[in-house]
Symmetry: C2
Subunit: 264 residues, 2 copies
Amino acid sequence: MRHQFDEDVSVREIAEGEFEAQFSSSWLAGPALLGGYSMVVGLRALATALPQPDPLSVTAHFLGPLVPGPAHLRTDVVKRGRTVSSGQVAISQEGRERLRLLCMFGELEAQPCSRHMGEGPPALPPPDECVAELDDGNEFHQTMWDNFEYRISPDAGGTLTGGRSGDAVTRAWIRLADGRDPDPLALVAVVDALPPVIWEIGVTGWVPTLELTVHLRARPAPGWLRIVARTRFAQGRLFEEDAEIWDSQDRLVTQSRQLAMIPG
Amino acid sequence: MRHQFDEDVSVREIAEGEFEAQFSSSWLAGPALLGGYSMVVGLRALATALPQPDPLSVTAHFLGPLVPGPAHLRTDVVKRGRTVSSGQVAISQEGRERLRLLCMFGELEAQPCSRHMGEGPPALPPPDECVAELDDGNEFHQTMWDNFEYRISPDAGGTLTGGRSGDAVTRAWIRLADGRDPDPLALVAVVDALPPVIWEIGVTGWVPTLELTVHLRARPAPGWLRIVARTRFAQGRLFEEDAEIWDSQDRLVTQSRQLAMIPG
């Protein structure tokens, strides 16, 4: 069975290392496409050239707005290794590069042992006691929200649940709305799927991401994922947003950090 | 006055976008050079091609061991922008690429306002009540330690102070030993200058870094820096190490995260 997600992130090779993609208008996260979505499209292209199956690390530099419509991808292998390999992707629209990715692939474990876990999964009420309707109080049209099912913690999701918590943290259950089980590729979109937690502390509107790095830590088990996103330091115009995703077996499957800017 | 640090990270342009460097044997961190040191050398080369003065974000993929001796650097501008610019650097030794960098430059503030600080600088006794001698209980020859002055917190630096805390965190004062004041460039070396905190929980020996991303958050004030490094999640063979540096004016100046691997 082919899910909508796989349709939306598909690429077509047109020459060695050259791909075409059609960015879907169902992934808008404000005035531009969700960064994590375009990163998955880039990973799909690069994966064809590398010997290992799973992304371990993906770094994105957002150079210009990615929008629905045709896109051109150029992939380059940086190193093919026995354990890990690296490559880069340049995604252009209308002849201008909009996104640069530097990616590392390897082989993830499905059931890694816990050696040292300073924290466990985020504490959340059961999904049916959480808030299913996103209300961001924002006029942006977020088509991408329809691609996910959210169950937001009532006590840590202020803006999203109609209030404002004053603490820059959101905790939620999340899964793809099309019924597709998570895999490392999809996690790169999921980790970017919450609205900016900085909205919780009174910053409003579009906060452009400069850089986003996602680490994949294990192959996820099927079922609901739990995500926690947090901004600890907003200083001057710069802030970071960290996120972690845990799977239904209580394993850490993804960690991310982005550097973003408050428009001046 | 020219400091030893600037001597060690100097580059010489030999053609447009092509540089030579001489990696110093005084930056060994075990069997290979300190990653943060070679990142600074790469940033020095790329800085000549970009209009903004400060690194904002640097991502490194470690592809092979960097060793003392000659190195070749190739820089490519990804995007020259009005506010931020991106570029990449490939560092090769003996004809093989060993390090790939993806870097963003911009202009950092010296005195950014605090909008939301979830934590303050790490709690540390005054420098003269901390431990000045590193003792890692490890046979690796760490010449790079002589480039810094360390004052390690007696209660959060187990391995380094001769014990083992059992908690994967280290807090310390740190500054360059040559008397040079910190700047954003030097912070990229400083943030990588503590021994792996995973040693605190019983993992020993060489733990190769796969990927390291450093964010610069403000121009540092002169004087002692405070650094805190922490591993929260070691699961299977993968773990992250996060670090933060604060300056003498209690401002967050650097944040970093690396993905590293426990050899199998």
